[in-house]
Symmetry: C2
Subunit: 112 residues, 2 copies
DNA sequence: AATACATAATACCTTTTGGTATTATGTCAA
DNA sequence: TTGACATAATACCAAAAGGTATTATGTATT
């Protein structure tokens, strides 16, 4: 539960990086191919790719003079698990509320 | 699918803020109660709480001279949904892989 | 070997972020 | 009403983030 997710949440914090992940979900791309899909410089995109790599959300494979960037969806696991803690928490609250309502209904019935 | 999740991802990017959410999952707290659980200043915690509020992950209710901070787990919904896109994506890849293997096995059988 | 090309590395700039310290405001309680 | 207390607001600082421009490096291609 504790703390290996920092790199992932940091990587996801920037909208450009989230869009890069979306693009990479349609197929592997070189830096040039990624940056063609954005207005910013290739250098800026490269920085984003490094941060995504540090967060283990993508892997990079050198192929001649090109570097292929590949999505690693399993890298999102720690973030997903962290969020699930709260989703469970919320579900429990709803269950408790439901039980409380049912109990109340039962109580009412007893009054008749 | 597109873009209301920025506030949430921004809020989740800081480890102190994620810890605050964890603490609030055990019960509502005033600013003082939250900041007692951290080394940093009350003012710093207050700033984090504002960002969490902007991301709709908590709500704040004034009660006399105190302000009660309350977790809003539903605020995590957009982030969860965003991540689910990739979880689905990953599941599909696994399914495809599985089909491919099964197809290959079938092909092999046909050869006997 | 020479040149073009994809990427890396460096330097630099501006804005945002996370933090402290200090002062102000509003509310409770004697 | 006056003092104590919880929070707000402001000013300020250092570091990190996001970006550009420029130069360097390594790989293909001719």
């Amino acid at each position: 539960m504790i703390g290996a997710e920092q790199g992932v949440f940091r990587a996801l914090a920037d909208p450009t990086r989230r869009q890069i992940l979306m693009h990479l979900s349609t197929g592997d791309m070189t830096i040039a191919e990624v940056s063609n899909r954005f207005e910013v410089t290739r250098a800026a995109i490269k920085k984003h790719l490094v941060i995504l790599e540090e967060g283990k959300l993508i892997s990079v494979h050198t192929q001649g003079r090109e570097r292929i960037n590949k999505l690693e969806p399993l890298g999102l696991k720690s973030a997903t698990e962290w969020l699930n803690y709260f989703n469970r928490f919320w579900d429990d609250k709803l269950d408790n509320l439901k039980s409380a309502i049912e109990d109340h209904e039962d109580t009412n019935k007893e009054n008749y």
